[in-house]
Symmetry: D3
């Protein structure tokens, strides 16, 4: 039994509040246990230089934490004048994951800027960011469809992400909170599509390597978790992702 009485294969309480902000084309507040992330999707009607005049769009992501999202206050990256390696790694991951389920030609020559700002952190901020950002992005696409700027939904499938891991006793666990994560032997982030395929799989055994058999168990558990998340995403944006909208 875990300290918050969850079973090993049980996720924390999750909530996605759509249209959380007034200005962005799409936005949500996603809450996973005590982790809270504001995700927004902003449309810019041009693409980065390397993509110009190719009839394709782009999705770029930025990620940050409020200084006091964490137990100890962290120094603001704008004050330091540079972004940490961890932040860079996460924002590259978010962008890559979302691009995997978007038809960039259907999107056309525009950029979707994804901003994930962690208001409160308790483990799983990168996976919550991806799960929430996906919804914010589809809401933004919905707005463009409504305005007639898009003819078809550019999102080609659902997308969600979850963390799995193993503690020192080598129990497999779903959706680690901060305490579990910081003492884990193995840590893995799994990003999957609605059709059950992998978009990204990142497992690390810094504390202790893991076997092929353990890999199989972690992947199976991640598969269960992402399915639950996608069922919930469907409640919120199912109408936008209806069959006839999908490419």
């Amino acid at each position: 039994m875990r300290k918050d009485e969850r079973a090993w294969n049980e996720m924390r309480h999750i909530q996605i509040e759509p249209h959380y902000l007034k200005h962005p084309e799409g936005s949500v507040l996603i809450t996973v246990g005590d982790t809270k992330v504001i995700c927004s999707a902003s449309i810019e009607e041009r693409v980065p230089p390397f993509l110009r005049n190719q009839g394709k769009g782009w999705i770029a992501a930025e990620y940050a934490m409020l200084p006091r999202a964490t137990q100890q206050r962290t120094i603001r990256e704008s004050s330091k004048g540079k972004v940490t390696g961890r932040t860079m790694e996460i924002q590259r991951l978010i962008g890559r994951a979302l691009r995997a389920v978007v038809d960039l030609e259907v999107l056309g020559e525009r950029t979707v800027w994804i901003d994930c700002d962690v208001i409160q952190a308790d483990g799983g901020t990168r996976t919550a960011s991806i799960t929430g950002a996906y919804v914010a992005m589809v809401l933004a696409f919905g707005k463009l469809l409504e305005q007639g700027k898009l003819k078809k939904m550019p999102a080609t499938d659902y997308l969600s992400a979850i963390s799995v891991g193993m503690n020192k006793e080598r129990d497999v666990l779903l959706d680690l909170d901060y305490e579990e994560d910081s003492t884990a032997a193995v840590d893995m982030n799994i990003i999957m599509t609605g059709s059950g395929e992998f978009v990204e799989l990142q497992g690390t055994g810094e504390e202790s390597p893991f076997s092929y058999r353990e890999l199989e168990r972690l992947v199976a558990l991640g598969n269960d978790g992402t399915r639950q998340l996608m069922a919930y995403q469907q409640e919120i944006i199912g109408n936008l992702m209806k069959e006839d909208n999908l490419s």
Copy 2:
């Protein structure tokens, strides 16, 4: 009549949600019309080098906006690698204002880090930040009192801030929203204490200079506004600021 049907001397709806975050010693979400700011107060048990071994504390403030707090997405300051002049000006103002109502010797050799993060912007973000940060700070002091780390409340008086201004027709207005602010002839920020004195007064007539008579009217209106804000602050933290706690 203003576009949102407010009278010239009427403030927008204000709400302060205390204990908004889990980790900081003090925190609030302050909402003024469509402007929303998360203010947190974090205690660090040491002071900057210039204050060491003087038996006095310090209050430092940082301010930022989420990229999509605004109508157009603004570039993240951490990505640019530097903080804008506007941000610097505001965070220096917040720190200076709060220090004016804190007895730094009662605080002792510790630093209060104030973080004001604008989630949604619609004018008046710096005055909302000050009004909210004051409450977050007093909540943090309350926690230190409770833990026995402080013997006495270091806050010596209430503090709140409001914007006043004049439109092109030279009507005096209280609490300008973004649209009013961006078309104003004169713009003034007024920060006052519970005893009705000025902590800071910043008036600028970039679009058009203003007369002594106009200054008098602006100041009087600001005085009314800050009094209303302090009445509301008192509802939330009045017990902490009770007579016998005050220095």
Copy 3:
């Protein structure tokens, strides 16, 4: 009596040396007591991107101190790789103040770069910078008029700035030197036009808040000070600002 035998309402000796430098379109060395600032105005025949093709000009200001302008050597901002908040605040203030008395349409699509470099500092460097920069700017306008590049003087009024304040005994003082400033209870910078209106008013009571009655006395004293400065400016550039040149 003040330490340099000045009366409470007496300014320090002031001198403005026009055409101090060879290269800029306009320049002065302004000396206020022991404070010395080189102010130059450079004309660039284009405007920043946000103003292009609007038929209007711009005034941008930069401010810096030589490392040993101060009692203790300060680290050069170019070595640190960033500009301090204080510097940013001052250069934004200088630009804003000058723009308030210039008709940017008369100026046309060009930028006036104002550089204020403090050679020696003894309090009041920001107000001396504004008072001197105004003269340098009008000299530059004079040169453009002479060259036929301008049809009319873009400056619409005189402009000068002075500091006022209150010491711990709550005596009101005009034109504070460094020692007075660093021990002041209240500190205020006042920027006024030739017609006696306020362009900017910044009062701060970090050490101790101030009352409405005190505000009145500070403002009156600042009004006197700026009038004296403008009389002196008139001796130097009065011919350029003659009635028929003014818009």
Copy 4:
């Protein structure tokens, strides 16, 4: 058949030249096809602040490419003044992987600085860096053992890394060169120990998600590749890693 006549499960020619540089405690030049990386391991007799006085060491890695290691010259990161996200991601990965096979308590309070500098790039630079850096690190440990500064070999197992992937036709391929990598549908880096366990597994299907069955085939192929690499590492450093040295 691949363009260089390799079979799908065939690695490129690999060569590790030990003691390549004069100054570092350990160094190699690793060549994998046309990819060449200089890896060096430098010993510093202290640890980062967060580890002080814990009796444990640290391994930190940095990675860079010469500007003309690539087909198009890339801008030098020192000229840009910041390190790209890709570089950060890779150097964090190298450090994490090496730490997984080092007993940091046996290492004691010292830091091993790993520098991987890509002289020529043709795909697989991060995996070549890890495979080469591991050898450089063990050579450095060998020197410390020889000097009596270490009593026991801190490396607890072999470590090597290889890339696997799938082309558009969904053929599984071992050890992708640049051209194969830049057109791959799925790309995976696998880092394994001598005992056949995973230290890190990073698979990404940005171009197209991949199924569980495909994951199995990729992992099996990566397992074969890392075994071959470790057989070669053993030829070079087998004597240092002999049974009685291992913890």
Copy 5:
């Protein structure tokens, strides 16, 4: 005949105004034709980390130009956030040259900070900086001697610097102004001691290489120029550099 009627071996008018600033331990304004540089020497009672506890001092130099010291305004290095290569080269040169004529053990564990700020530039700013900085430094040493903080003058000899060059017609010229410098075929900076030896010699023939015979003529002319400068320096600081003060 040169455009300002100087002979080929004639220097521009030179003037050194000692004690130009109020705060620094030593300072001058040096004027060479239209080139004007403020040089100050500040004493800091500690040395950089690499020199600690060795009983020796250090001399560090910084160099900058006001933005409008030049015909075209140059961007302020503090705004750009980095110092140009030219600036770095010059400040390293100034420091190296001054250290060559100072006995750092006599100086003791203190740093002399030299600041050379070019107020107006018309060629030869680096040589004027060295010639002026030397005087400012000796004035600062004089102050330390007077205060009893030094027992002996640390400067061991006079030091001055001059530029020489060749125009396209291969005429040798002394003390080039900006126009001569920017069209020169060969450009050389020569720094010499009172005893007629070279401290630094930097000749560059970017536009056209130069022969050994030409080198001889340039060096002879530089020798003449530096002698004249040292005669003038002697008028100002001769009493401080008297025989019995010299080491």
Copy 6:
């Protein structure tokens, strides 16, 4: 006799390996004793803004050292986020020297990017960089001639560089290694053309000034050294520099 048994006027063993890298238009590995530098020349078909539409090309150089090229590991400049003054000085020197022997009009509107990366340092890295970079550049020109992009060889003469110096005993020495260089009284870098003229001469006597007689001896020795280097360069690129190719 020197520690490595060289005579005072004897160079270290030198080797230049042409076509060292696969991607650049021209490249070499130059080895001088234990100093090793990879020099590459990359052609970019455009020029910097200040040269556009003038029918002339440009040569830009960058220089860096691997962190462990030196006895003690040095911090990577990309990690520090800025380039040191020493690096800037060297890369400016390399660019200036190469431009002195190239007809930029024959080159046409293209930039040659020179990258000198020191793999292992043992004194003389800047002179080895110039000697090697010259060969890499001519190889790149050879490729452009071969491709018909150039009609004529833009290099107008050979170019090489060597260090000379004097030890504490005032013996003149050719080609100083690191140990000799770090204890030298006088240090001089000499860059000469095939026709025996000076492109750059930089002598510094930071430890002790040098006389005119000493200057003569240093220059004569440098002349001998550069002649030997150019004889070797001729073996490698003599065919490209044949009479009928030269302008």
